[in-house]
């Protein structure tokens, strides 16, 4: 597709359940990023992929959060045993390649609500 695609667009789940969020980056973009935006806050970095490896996981808030990327394309962010504080909009971005001052292009996000 032309842009970054994320699914689902909305997810409501009960506390304690696991959720999986998906991101399809722009074709040919080697760098992929996950961010989240909590209510009234700016975007907060979670994890960065270059190809299939994740050299920077420094933003993952706890070991309940994990992510993977396969085939240098699609990425999934998994949150286990969800808590109410996990409620946020989860945004994925991709860029052509790191180290070249290329802008990151964002999807429309997944709005996650934990009941």
């Amino acid at each position: 597709g032309a842009g970054v695609s994320q699914s689902p667009s909305n997810k409501v789940t009960e506390k304690g359940k696991d959720v999986e969020l998906r991101c399809d980056p722009i074709s040919g973009h080697t760098a992929l990023y996950w961010y989240r935006q909590s209510l009234g806050q700016g975007l907060e970095f979670l994890i960065y992929f270059q190809g299939n490896s994740a050299p920077d996981k420094s933003g993952l808030p706890s070991d309940r959060f994990s992510a993977e990327r396969t085939g240098g394309s699609v990425s999934t962010l998994t949150i286990q045993r969800t808590q109410q504080e996990d409620s946020a909009v989860y945004l994925c971005a991709s860029s052509l390649r790191p180290g070249s001052n290329q802008p990151q292009h964002f999807g429309d996000g997944t709005r996650l609500s934990i009941l």
Binding site: G42, Y48, P98, N101
Partner: protein
């Protein structure tokens, strides 16, 4: 510790006038700065960027100014249009200083309203 600050949560201007959005940063390792525009229920849309080797970058109605000594950047929109009404986020990256990830550090945003 907020490394990128947008101290004005909101700004209101008249159509046709100039909008000036401000951003301050604290990390001297930042070398790439971006502005994003965000409408409700959509992802941020890239607007304009500037490298630390420059002090000005212009693209149509949008100009970004960088003052490295003051650790300050601003986005000027001239002339402002009602369709510019959105939340504007300032973001910064330290590039290779962060091990090459170029993760973005965002401010909390400024809501711009352009009145007809």
């Amino acid at each position: 510790d907020q490394q990128v600050k947008q101290n004005s949560p909101s700004l209101s201007v008249q159509e046709g006038r100039i909008s000036i959005l401000n951003c301050d940063y604290t990390n001297s390792m930042f070398d790439y700065f971006l502005w994003y525009k965000k409408y409700p229920a959509e992802g941020p849309t890239f607007l304009i960027s500037i490298s630390s080797i420059k002090d000005k970058n212009e693209d149509g109605r949008f100009t970004v100014f960088l003052n490295k000594s003051a650790k300050h950047l601003s986005l000027h929109i001239v002339p402002s249009q009602p369709g510019d009404s959105a939340v504007y986020f300032c973001a910064a990256s330290a590039g290779h200083a962060q091990g090459g990830s170029e993760k973005l550090v965002f401010g909390k945003g400024t809501k711009l309203t352009v009145n007809p």
